[in-house]
């Protein structure tokens, strides 16, 4: 859990990632605003869940925080040092402290390398010249930590199941003992029974190593399992950010309420009695987002103000912020 007294590991301020779109020669230059002014702090050992539907910018945000893709504006401060000011070599050095795992575990592994070579690769990069026996010992240790028997060290990725491949990805990410791990939909491609194994593994590793996680997922039940705080993104902007129990029990943004009420519950009586906040229409194009509040085109309680004024992130409580003009009355209005 975050300690308010400790300094943040990572501070993101007004981060923007805009991608240029191909357009005609003399036409106005257009951009996709994938991430549009996101700010948050992440503390050592904390898990921040990022949820949202496809196209909300959650994966882009995860990559931009690691500087894997360039940002258009804003700041990412790592342990007090702005990454924008770092040189390429400095950034490379910092990368050993921040790692990432991906959704498709098999696609993220080189099919021509053995598991041992895959897990050892970060050591080759950051600790070159390490003796082979030491390196092997480190690889075996990393494999065992994620629950992979060490006798599999000479096997190739295609010989493993999806869950095991994800374990290999985690072993590779953790061998350098990073402080931050970005998990981009790490269990979405896995079966339910395997998904639970990976979630428990990530939780255990986090406690053991005081690792901070940014856990990106579209699955609200999974995010609830693992997160200390949860951020809801919509069209590149934060709709709501709060501590886990607060956001699931007391969601304020109409979008958060719609998302939560749409998740099917594996309980026939509850599921059939559930009241749902229905949205209208589809996600608008991020090239040409709506004026004012970006959510207003699908919001069931939109008013004129939403079209004219961009809502700011307002505090509900000290750690709960929401960007909606009508957050005070939203629950009442939507539950009618």
């Amino acid at each position: 859990m975050p300690l308010s007294s400790s300094a943040p590991l990572l501070s993101v301020r007004d981060l923007k990632v805009h991608f240029p779109v191909k357009s005609d020669l003399f036409a106005e230059k257009r951009v996709v605003k994938a991430v549009d002014g996101v700010s948050f702090d992440l503390y050592p050992g904390e898990t921040l869940g990022i949820v949202g539907e496809s196209g909300c910018g959650k994966s882009t945000l995860g990559r931009a925080v690691l500087k894997l893709i360039p940002s258009s504006a804003g700041k990412v401060v790592w342990l007090g040092k702005p990454l924008e000011d770092s040189s390429k070599t400095e950034l490379r050095g910092l990368r050993r402290e921040m790692q990432i795992i991906f959704q498709d575990p098999l696609a993220a592994l080189d099919p021509r390398m053995t598991v041992g070579a895959i897990v050892a690769e970060p050591l080759d990069t950051f600790e070159p010249g390490m003796a082979e026996t030491d390196k092997r010992a480190r690889v075996v240790e990393a494999m065992e930590r994620v629950g992979l028997p060490s006798h599999l060290i000479n096997r190739y990725p295609h010989e493993f199941s999806g869950g095991q491949c994800q374990r290999i990805g985690i072993a590779r990410a953790l061998i350098l003992k990073p402080k931050l791990l970005v998990c981009d939909e790490p269990v979405s491609a896995l079966d339910v029974s395997i998904q639970a194994q990976i979630i428990n593994l990530l939780k255990r590793l986090q406690t053991e190593e005081n690792l901070a996680l940014i856990f990106i997922s579209h699955n609200l039940s999974v995010v609830r399992r693992i997160s200390d705080r949860v951020m809801v993104l919509y069209l590149g902007k934060i709709a709501e950010l709060a501590e886990r129990d607060e956001i699931y029990r007391n969601p304020r943004h109409p979008y958060t309420q719609a998302l939560l009420s749409a998740v099917p519950i594996a309980d026939p009586d509850k599921e059939r009695a559930k009241k749902r906040v229905a949205l209208t229409g589809d996600l608008p194009s991020p090239i040409n987002p709506p004026s004012g509040c970006v959510f207003r085109t699908r919001c069931p309680i939109t008013v004129e103000k939403c079209r004219d004024t961009v809502p700011m992130l307002e505090p509900v409580t000290g750690s709960h912020t929401v960007s909606c003009h009508r957050w005070r009355e939203a629950i009442e209005l939507l539950m009618e």
């Binding site: 539907e53 496809s54 199941s161 869950g163 095991q164 079966d191 339910v192 029974s193 395997i194 998904q195 639970a196 194994q197 979630i199 428990n200 939780k203 579209h218 699955n219 609200l220 039940s221 999974v222 609830r224 399992r225 699931y248 719609a258 998302l259 939560l260 009420s261 749409a262 998740v263 099917p264 519950i265 594996a266 309980d267 026939p268 009586d269 509850k270 599921e271 059939r272 559930k274 749902r276 229905a278 949205l279 229409g281 589809d282 996600l283």
Partner: protein, 337 residues
């Protein structure tokens, strides 16, 4: 969810089952030998009923559907019996089968982008169904296509008829698929993971739409999914599959509130839910799903089961009735919660 637990009159009428699947076995010849995807599956679907088939990847749930629809690839073959409204579908000549498929039986796939033809407009694909199957004249077909798009709540249906699939969003494309499936008012709608590729708010809309269409037309639905929440909201009865077999089946409330097969119970417990208490670790199922090319001689779940006995490893436990309308394939007499 708009589905009620009580069955309306047209669901309880004493008619013969619409679909009877008996001892269905589906095998695939692969370079590594024969793979048994479906190993003796039997079930019935009554008129107006919604059946859920749940299972993880490799459980054979999708191959049951493909076998029923006669859509197996060239290296696949089925034995057993699939009777639709009294007619045997397995081994039926293709031209006869095509008179049933699309009109009386329709299928909705997981990925609408690959299931729709990218070269044809929505209107062309919808009217094709009507002109081909029902020999409707083009102008009337177009009007019916517009109507059906309206029924699945597509805004500006007239305009959408001229659009290509890539011009529509994912949710809209899935609506077009459902519209296409419902065009000829089929008696049986088969849906293979119809909402898996969609966002959760869109998923909820599509599930409501399926329930709504069923209430209007009285279609029977077979819904295949890995998401137990979807089954809980929509289905009357549930079949749980593992290793190509049905391991448990029964009414939806019984399956969720009193699971009797260790796999069903483990599956329900290992799924993170919005309403669980978050105490301790999420229960897991140890090990991996079985390899269909190398099945163990006994119960396929035995290597992962916490109640396993010697008996389980020797022979496959048969699916036996444990209460009216409920069956399980397990040697245990009773599983106490």
């Amino acid at each position: 969810m708009t589905v009620s637990q009580e069955l309306p009159a047209w669901k309880t009428g004493h008619q013969g089952p619409l679909l009877i699947v008996d001892q269905l076995v589906t095998r695939f010849a692969t370079p590594d030998g024969t793979v048994s995807a479906v190993n003796g599956v039997s079930f019935e679907v009554s008129k107006g009923e919604t059946i859920g088939i749940v299972g993880e990847s490799g459980s054979g749930k999708s191959q049951v559907l493909m076998s029923i629809m006669g859509l197996l690839p060239h290296n696949g073959s089925s034995t057993g019996s699939v009777q639709f409204d009294g007619k045997e579908l397995l081994g039926m000549p293709r031209d006869q089968l095509n008179k049933i498929r699309g009109t009386r039986m329709a299928m909705i796939f997981q990925d609408p982008m690959t299931a729709l033809n990218p070269y044809l407009t929505v209107g062309q694909q919808l009217t094709e169904v009507l002109t081909y199957h029902l020999s409707t004249n083009p102008a009337m077909a177009r009007e019916q296509a517009r109507e059906v798009l309206e029924q699945v709540h597509i805004p500006e249906p007239g305009k959408r008829l001229g659009m290509y699939p890539h011009e529509l969003s994912g949710g809209m494309r899935q609506r077009v698929m459902i519209a296409m499936g419902m065009l000829c008012r089929p008696d049986l709608l088969i849906a293979d993971e119809p909402t898996t590729a969609l966002d959760v708010t869109i998923q909820a809309e599509i599930l409501d739409l399926l329930a709504e269409q069923q209430a209007v037309t009285g279609t029977s639905i077979i819904l295949v999914t890995h998401d137990l929440g979807v089954v809980a909201g929509l289905c009357d009865r549930v079949m749980v599959m593992y290793g190509g077999r049905i391991v448990e089946q029964g009414p939806v409330r019984d399956i969720f509130y009193n699971p009797q097969h260790p796999y069903t119970r483990a599956l329900l417990m290992s799924m993170p839910r919005l309403d669980d208490d978050l105490a301790g670790d999420l229960p897991t199922i140890a090990g991996q799903p079985p390899n269909l090319a190398h099945m163990p001689p006994g119960c396929a779940f035995a290597p992962r089961c916490s109640f396993v006995s010697e008996q389980c490893r020797l022979a496959v436990p048969p699916l036996r009735e444990i209460a009216p309308g409920r069956a399980k394939a397990c040697t245990l007499d009773r599983l106490v919660a």
